[in-house]
Symmetry: C3
Subunit: 348 residues, 3 copies
């Protein structure tokens, strides 16, 4: 977190950029970098407040605001009608969490500690839940694979909405189940490990300021995407699935790797898998429902997105169940991520 603070300098620079009409590419880079430390503060503030409100409401706070940054960026991208970017960034967030965040955790943790061990049972429930999420998201896509795209959003709109509601129900019921059975379903209880000792008013103030700044910067970021991709010749899909998720996940990323370096692989896995679960069962359905206020967005993902989604989940299942891993496994996860990234860059 300490090193991330320096990046805050990009926040005022972003506002300067608006005044002086800097180019879209520069604005894209500046807003991206600005959001990284703010997302970190937002996450910390949420965890601080959660610590004050007690485990029950705190768990709810963490489960809901844990991916607030993704949710804010998603909101502005939906409002701008950039549906492909929205879905790509959400799919990319799951990919990034499992392949890149988990991969780096295993690689660096494994290089330091040789063999990493963890409770194989712990993550099984979460990993199974992730498998269900993939099937839930894939079914609408397989159904409409032969349907022309314009029909999907008009005639089959209700299918997307119903699926979203069902996924959201499962998320909420799972959260209640998690509180009752004292099982940590969504990996939200790693708060105790990162204590920064803020008072409650300070925490709420930080939460408010970070949220407002992220909202403003997200709007600038979203506005810069289209002109930037055209100017720099970078495919929009690459921006959506690779670049934006890195911004949203940077905070989780650094925490997970730090935990892995401390040989606390359980927490690193919880962060990566739990965060993916929140995206799949909470952010994605909410995004579909939010879009109803603007132009309805379907829950249909592209085949490549679903394939990578499914592959990541199968790999996460393997790793979680094994109970032990080593740096070689981390390298393989990262390699799959790199192959996918190259694909999005070249094929688009």
């Amino acid at each position: 977190m300490k090193y991330l603070k320096i990046l805050l300098v990009c926040v005022p620079l972003s506002f300067l950029g608006v005044l002086f009409h800097w180019s879209a590419s520069i604005m894209f880079v500046l807003t991206c970098i600005s959001i990284v430390p703010l997302a970190g503060y937002l996450g910390n503030a949420t965890e601080e407040i959660a610590a004050y409100t007690g485990p029950k409401f705190g768990g709810f706070l963490n489960a809901t605001f844990g991916n607030a940054t993704e949710l804010i960026i998603t909101f502005f991208a939906i409002r701008a009608g950039l549906f492909d970017v929205v879905k790509a960034s959400l799919a990319g967030s799951v990919l990034g969490n499992i392949l890149l965040v988990l991969g780096c955790s295993i690689l660096f943790g494994g290089l330091k500690h040789k063999e990493l061990k963890y409770d194989a049972q712990l993550g099984t429930f979460t990993a199974t839940m992730l498998l269900f999420a993939v099937f839930g998201l894939a079914i609408p896509a397989v159904f409409t694979s032969n349907v022309p795209e314009n029909l999907i959003s008009s005639k089959y709109e209700s299918f997307s909405v119903i699926t979203s509601v069902i996924l959201l129900c499962i998320y909420v019921i799972g959260m209640i189940y998690s509180f009752r059975s004292q099982k940590d379903l969504y990996g939200v209880e790693h708060a105790e490990d990162i204590d920064s000792k803020w008072s409650l008013p300070v925490s709420i103030f930080v939460l408010g300021v970070a949220t407002v700044l992220i909202a403003i910067l997200s709007e600038l970021l979203v506005d810069s995407i289209e002109p930037m991709t055209q100017a720099a010749g970078i495919p929009e899909m690459f921006v959506g699935i690779i670049l934006i998720p890195i911004v949203g996940n940077a905070a989780e990323h650094s925490t997970a790797v730090i935990m892995a370096l401390k040989n606390k692989m359980d927490i690193a896995i919880e962060i990566a898998v739990g965060s993916s679960l929140q995206i799949s069962l909470f952010v994605i359905p909410v995004a579909v429902l939010i879009s109803l206020f603007f132009t309805p967005m379907s829950i249909i993902f592209k085949p490549i997105e679903l394939f990578l989604f499914g592959s990541s989940v199968l790999i996460a299942n393997q790793v979680v169940k094994a109970g032990r891993t080593n740096w070689m496994e981390g390298l393989k996860l990262i390699s799959v991520y790199i192959i996918a990234a190259v694909g999005f860059f070249i094929v688009g």
Copy 2:
């Protein structure tokens, strides 16, 4: 079973309907409801006879007539040339057994007993067999995914026939293996738990009457499908994959849930997975071979059918191997089923 008896009143009503030319929708509902208790009697009678003939021939009886209702409906649907309905109802039977029957068993059993435990090793062999069945059924579909539909049934007829024969051989050899090694491969030995104490002649009489009635009602049911779907505006696929399998599986369904409520999860899993296996390796290949006497039907399933088939099997594998489960898992299985059902209703 007690409550199902009341439904028998629909049998005479169905015959009245024929006399007075009631509408297709009413006939569809009446014949569907009529078959449910009859399928229950057919199953009970088979198990009674099996108990008299000793384990070897009894196992054979159960494995062969265990899905007699599905087989009879399938026969009349093939004769009527309703291939899409036939395949949908067979795929739907597997889906229904795994997602709905197993899901409800886990949900209700889990709500009563909190955590359900069972022998993780027990079902592994059956679950692996199911995985092979899926691959066996999927290969022809993947091969012919780019082939126009009319070519599949003419030029590649032999492919469907050979695949069916191979699947059937595996089923028969598996049955022999099961008898020899005293392992219960197809989950057919839950007979002892449902003893209704009929004498052998009574059992044979019940078997005969139930079979004849199911045959007549199945023909009426099949005849009502097309006019009903047109009149009521319900997609044919929805009728095939959701409604008809519920009729055929109702008996298994109630038995499995009752067993789960008694905390006998092993038997509930055996019923659901074993029944899916009989459909995949016995009823489907036999249906393809029967069709040769009328118009040849290919073994090619639709992508969405195979996707749901494969997903269900992967989920069943997960559940079976875990050795313990809870109501939340049941709810997830049911949710996947509901999303699929909504899809078939809206997209068709």
Copy 3:
């Protein structure tokens, strides 16, 4: 190995065939049969030399020349521009190793020893690696599934090259990891079990002669494929995916079955899975890179190839993790192979 020696008589016959211009079908059969014993000698010579050079360099030798025959045939097929045959034969080699070689090992071993047991942990690492290889190979295909074929090889050439380099890096790093951690990653240490006691000079001599003969015969084999498929009416895909891999894998096949008959299932699994891994992570990427010297070949496999590839790997994973198996499982593996072979023969 003893019985294979007799097949050497086809080597001079093949040369006679060239002189007297025998038909392509006869030449295809003769060269295929000739290569089988030569591949066996090549493999033995490699293992002999590996035994002399010590474990480290020996492991490298085995890992690199273990699939020398496949590599040589691939080289000549690439030079002849038969890309479909090349990819089919490499995909077919993986299929053959897992479904046919492993299937026969389990079937024959299981018929002799009833239940086969082995260390479930042993092959997990290799099986996971195979899962990664499948995802690595599938990603480029899913990306370009909507791209016209001529664009793939021109515009997206770099994607294939980068993917190949990444897979190759993982293979090499995995090899180094394997040496360091003393874990046998690629199943190359079954040398001690097949000792034929050659001196080092004899081994090198055998290696040289076998390589040269295989090279010459491979060129003759490749030249005969196209005229043979046209004359005999056999689909080129069937030749590529079923017939050629049997030639290349014959030696591994016999060794694996012999080991299984000796109840050394661990070694049989290592041969089948390790060999598949070498094909996926070494031979396929090298083939793509070699093609750059002639006409660039993409790393894009056909959907049916990838589906069978993925299915085999999932099945191998199941078998490896179970820790015990029986002949029935072997029969199921072989059945899936037969269904696939029938498909390639009928649909092509």
